[in-house]
């Protein structure tokens, strides 16, 4: 009797066929999301090459894909950690810690000696890409490193940089930033290996001490030499710090082992467990039902599993279109002061400009003194806020506006450009969005702003933003993802909604990590779902990611009754439909509106705030179109611009702008000549705004003075409570 152990993982299938402890056949291959097909192919080969026979031999399946394949081939399922542990116990009785990193999961097993064998503690996580193989591969792909090259890359001896280990998508962004600032690719990859090990150690050890000997399993641990080096580096350091006794002559290589068979441990474990259970297990049922499932079954299942259409029925769609089809038309009537005026502008009349300087796009609107929108424009961000602002100003000037009564900025560039453009106000994003919403809906309770790269949910009470959720830890739920998928299908973003509404049903995608969402899409595609259907399901899962996953808001009824949808992503009607359905389901009485100028809401809000300046009669600080257009600047991002004031080591950019009369900075590491004003960006705290120690002293002095003048009772506790006070001696 032969026993086969097949590990159907998230990216590869691994199989071992054995008879009486002798391995007859083994292989592993990537399945490119076609798990069933790959298993069929393996069974085929095992039958042909080694005589695997239905009715006599036994199969055991493990891994994330085992669940649906096992019943088709007459196999038992063995939980993957149990399988790995069984193999390790048999092959390496002295191992105390195992780390298995898979494509989309990570597992750790601790063995402690116990009477009559070992006691085991196992941990597994598969919800987030941080710390998994995908995490490394995704970033490597972005850096255009081939698999072979990646496998040979090192960790030892390279400088490491800070890379977010929490989310694969942000790690990719970090890697990009490092690349832009001139960090060599080898160091970026080394930092990625380091981040993976740190993430595993941080989340998977849970109070257990990693004792030697350690076994590293799974594809990434086997293939990436650099990852092995990172493990060895961290574990040897950890053991030295902890004074963990190491066996005589034990070096990193012998204490932290990567077995040749590292890929096959789950399969080998299946065989190990299977041997004990052979008598009670069903025999291999052959390939027929699996082939049937591939050809027919999965498509039938697709039809069964499919959710209702995003569009709903014809009446529902008609009602939806009537209500949400054109927010501008609907609200043009309600708010007559906010209509777009046609005809040439009155050049003499002073206007208000509001700019929203975002990280991916910058937008500007021009309002009349009566708050009519006279003009709006935008520019894709080119990474330099000054250039972006110049582009906007050129467009405004080109549209025939000359007299500017007030200028207000919002978005991440607002503080940076406040003085350079001569803005009258820098309005915080939350307030800008709230003002824009309140202009149309004075009693708004909740604003949901879904932009390209971020999600903001603002909760209002008494007309003020009292709480908000910013998606900053995880990229799940933002609009860029939608755009990316549409681009991959070659569908223009404007057609997205109509295509999605065509779908008669749609698959249900899993909420959560954007990295896994991508592979889930491939998986659904394989099951036969079409592009339209997948686009519909992607829109449908967005609200779940926005409210539940990113916003952590489970009870929408408790946060209010009037919801306003803002942000460019809400120009997409498919998203609006999904949002309306989702919110209605959670809060049936809720009123939901789309802001008539969803994409420009931030800029409009800023401009509305600046109305006060205009009304107060004080002259605007606006530098004027000519001067802004003529601004000459140069930016530097290098080693010398890194902030060293604290452990964060922010990678700053120095933007030097030519302004007549500016003093320059001849003393700086990155000198600026007289006539140039320096703007520092990329720092995360006010300390980073200064370059040298004397400037820092001045800033600290100012802060201290402020703190002395405006005391904080907690300072007294922090300063005095933990030592013997004079008063109490």
């Amino acid at each position: 009797m032969k026993i086969a152990g097949i590990d159907v993982g998230s990216t590869t299938v691994k199989a071992v066929l054995a008879e009486n402890d002798v391995i007859l056949w083994q292989d592993y291959q990537r399945h490119h999301t076609r798990q069933a097909e790959k298993v069929l192919e393996f069974l085929n080969r095992m039958e042909a090459e080694c005589g695997l026979r239905p009715g006599r031999d036994i199969l055991f399946l493990t891994g994330s894909g085992a669940g649906f394949i096992a019943p088709l081939v007459g196999s038992k399922i063995i939980q993957e950690v149990v399988a790995v542990a069984a193999a390790v116990e048999k092959l390496h009785p002295d191992v105390r810690f195992v780390s298995e990193i898979g494509g989309e999961d990570m597992k750790t097993i601790f063995f402690t000696a116990a009477p009559g064998g070992h006691s085991k503690q196992v941990y597994m996580q598969s919800a987030c890409s941080g710390g998994t193989g995908t995490f490394i591969e995704k970033a490597a792909k972005k850096l255009q490193i081939g698999p072979d090259e990646l496998a040979a890359m090192r960790h030892t001896g390279l400088s490491l940089h800070k890379i977010s280990s929490k989310c694969g998508i942000f790690a990719e962004a970090d890697a990009n930033t490092l690349l832009k600032s001139g960090v060599p690719v080898s160091e970026i990859i080394a930092s990625l290996f380091d981040a993976v090990v740190c993430q595993n150690l941080a989340t998977m050890t849970k109070g257990n001490t990693l004792a030697p000997t350690v076994l590293l399993l799974g594809g990434p641990n086997l293939f990436f030499a650099g990852l092995q080096e990172a493990w060895r580096h961290h574990l040897m350091k950890f053991w030295a710090e902890r004074g963990v006794p190491l066996p005589e002559g034990g070096d990193a290589g012998s204490l932290i082992q990567v077995p040749e068979q590292a890929l096959y441990y789950a399969s080998l474990g299946c065989i190990e467990v299977g041997r004990a259970e052979a008598a009670s297990s069903p025999t291999y049922a052959g390939r027929d039902r699996l082939r049937w499932w591939i050809d027919k079954g999965q498509h039938e299942e697709k039809a069964k599993q499919g959710g209702r259409a995003l569009a709903g029925d014809a009446t529902e769609m008609a009602e939806f279109r009537l209500r949400y089809g054109d927010p501008k038309r609907t609200f043009g009537l309600r708010a007559p002061s906010f209509r777009r005026r046609d005809g040439p502008p009155d050049a003499e009349q002073a206007v208000i400009i509001g700019c929203d300087l975002g990280s991916t796009t910058s937008k500007a609107v021009v309002l009349s003194q009566d708050s009519d929108i006279l003009f709006s424009c935008y520019s894709q961000s080119r990474g330099n806020p000054i250039e972006d602002a110049q582009l906007l100003m050129r467009q405004i000037r080109g549209a025939g506006f000359h007299t500017v009564g007030a200028l207000a900025l919002t978005g991440y560039g607002k503080d940076l450009l406040n003085d350079i453009l001569g803005a009258d106000m820098a309005v915080v994003e939350t307030v800008a969005h709230a003002e824009a919403a309140r202009h149309f809906f004075p009693d708004v309770d909740v604003i949901c702003d879904v932009g390209g790269c971020d999600v903001k949910i603002m909760l209002l009470r008494q007309g003020m933003v009292v709480d908000f959720r910013l998606n900053s830890q995880c990229s799940s739920g933002n609009g860029a993802f939608l755009q990316g998928v549409a681009e991959r299908y070659g569908v223009p973003l404007e057609d997205y909604a109509e295509r999605a509404f065509q779908a008669k049903s749609m698959p249900s995608l899993a909420m959560g990590c954007g990295v896994f969402l991508q592979s889930d899409i491939v998986n659904q595609q394989r099951k036969g779902w079409s592009c339209d259907e997948i686009m519909a399901s992607l829109a449908a899962v967005l609200p779940v990611n926005v409210w539940v996953y990113a916003g952590q808001l489970h009870n929408l009824r408790s946060i209010g009754g009037k919801f306003i949808l803002q942000g460019g992503t809400h120009r997409n009607l498919a998203v609006v439909k999904a949002q309306v359905d989702f919110i209605r389901k959670k809060a049936p009485e809720a009123e939901i509106f789309v802001h008539p100028y969803a994409g420009e809401a931030g800029a409009i809000g800023a401009a509305l705030c600046a109305r006060e300046t205009l009304e107060s009669g004080s002259p605007s600080r606006f530098r004027g179109f000519e001067l802004i257009d003529a601004l000459d600047y140069q930016s530097t991002t290098s080693k010398d611009t890194v902030c060293h004031w604290c452990a964060c080591n922010c990678q700053r950019t120095f933007v030097d702008v030519q302004i007549p009369g500016a003093e320059g900075r001849p003393w700086s590491k990155v000198p600026a000549a007289p006539g140039w004003e320096r703007v520092i960006s990329g720092n995360s705290c006010p300390k980073g705004m200064v370059e040298d120690a004397s400037e820092l002293r001045l800033i600290k002095q100012e802060l201290e003075e402020k703190r002395r003048e405006r005391p904080n009772v907690a300072d007294m506790v922090r300063d005095r409570a933990f030592r013997q006070c004079k008063a109490t001696v």
Partner: protein
């Protein structure tokens, strides 16, 4: 019994008291009982310079000293305790002889006598036990470092019990310790703690006097005492202070009779409450000491005119704080006072989000502060104790 429970089985220290060095983790409710412990050990004859607290919570501390010793605990402030233990055990230039980590069951409180009970959060109380586990799980790290681990259960809200509780746990750690001197040291501890609280309340009163004089707004923080720890509260209030607003904390609000009468006199005379410290009108199940003080702080904050903005801090999924979120918000907002809540604080400090929040608060306080002061002042009688 205490010995078997909480001792680690070493023989008594042979060193004279004046040479003993005691390390106390600067965590959890030590943030409100600090001076009690300083004065208590000093009164027992330990050198004040040898009473060592771990440093403020920080990511670095957790990384250097707590890594791999964490416990499965959903309370972040409790989780951080392993970093503090590690720092005291492994990170001291001069070794400590005793690691003293009290399991504080109940707390001294300004509301004593006016509420049902003054208990600590049970998770916080038991924090030392779960943290200890990370240090003895595989090997006894205390024994290896020749440190005596002492974690007595203490009921600080019931001063008569405290001398016995501390004497029993410390008797074989501090040479020749008698019950009598323990009792005297406990008295000294309570006196020092009260002196400190009075000084802090006086500072709060000063702040309010200045605000009254200039008609300026200030900010009140409603939080648990350990949110003063920069690693737990993320110094959110410091950012607001840098915007030019003085900051009060609920634990140290002034309690002088004239102020209490100004704020609560009418409610007492109308029979709504029995004293200024009575919170039964809004929070009948007043068992938890820190929660009680937060609720009381909300009442005071909603009345004091210059408190134009109240900031609520709560750690990630704090089960003690969760039921208080809406009552506290409603109490504060009932007087038109601005209310901002920073919930689910934990180890990750989302710098961008924090900055936007602080700027948002600054915007609204700037826009509405003066108007709120005028409106709240109009609702109170004369004379104002802060201007006379």
């Amino acid at each position: 019994m205490w010995r078997t429970w909480f001792g680690t089985g070493h023989s008594g220290s042979a060193r004279p008291r004046s040479e003993l060095r005691v390390g106390i983790p600067r965590t959890l409710n030590v943030w409100s009982t600090h001076q009690f412990w300083v004065a208590f050990f000093a009164a027992l004859g330990l050198q004040p310079s040898r009473i060592v607290f771990s440093s403020n919570t920080s990511e670095e501390q957790g990384r250097n000293f707590g890594r791999g010793r964490g416990t499965v605990d959903c309370c972040y402030p409790v989780k951080c305790m392993s970093g503090h233990y590690g720092e005291l055990v492994f990170g001291q230039k001069r070794k400590v002889d005793i690691l003293f980590s009290p399991m504080i069951r109940s707390l001294p409180s300004l509301l004593s006598g006016h509420v049902v009970d003054l208990l600590s959060c049970p998770r916080v109380m038991a924090g030392p036990e779960s943290t200890k586990a990370g240090f003895i799980r595989e090997k006894d790290a205390f024994a290896e470092q020749s440190i005596r681990y002492v974690a007595p259960l203490v009921c600080l809200a019931e001063p008569v019990l405290v001398p016995r509780q501390l004497h029993e746990s410390l008797a074989d750690v501090i040479p020749g310790l008698t019950y009598r001197e323990t009792r005297a040291a406990v008295d000294a501890g309570f006196a020092a703690l009260e002196d400190f609280s009075n000084a802090a309340r006086a500072q709060s009163r000063d702040i309010l006097r200045q605000c009254a004089r200039k008609n300026d707004p200030c900010i009140l923080v409603l939080a648990r005492p350990y949110h003063m720890d920069p690693g737990i509260g993320h110094e959110i209030e410091v950012d607001l202070q840098a915007c030019g607003y003085p900051v009060l904390w609920t634990q140290y609000l002034p309690t002088d009779a004239d102020v209490m009468d100004w704020l609560f006199g009418e409610d007492i005379r109308s029979g709504d409450i029995s004293s200024p410290f009575d919170i039964s009108d809004v929070w009948p199940s007043s068992y938890s000491s820190n929660t009680n003080e937060i609720i009381w702080g909300a009442k005071v904050g909603s009345r004091i005119p210059w408190v134009t903005c109240v900031i609520r801090l709560a750690s990630y999924e704090c089960g003690m704080d969760q039921p208080t979120f809406s009552p506290v918000q409603k109490i504060v907002e009932s007087s038109g006072t601005l209310f901002f809540s920073f919930q689910d604080l934990d180890c990750t400090k989302p710098a961008g989000a924090l900055k936007i929040r602080v700027e948002t608060i600054r915007h609204y306080v700037g826009q509405h502060g003066k108007r709120i002061i005028t409106r709240k002042l109009a609702g109170l009688g004369k004379p104002c104790p802060f201007t006379v």
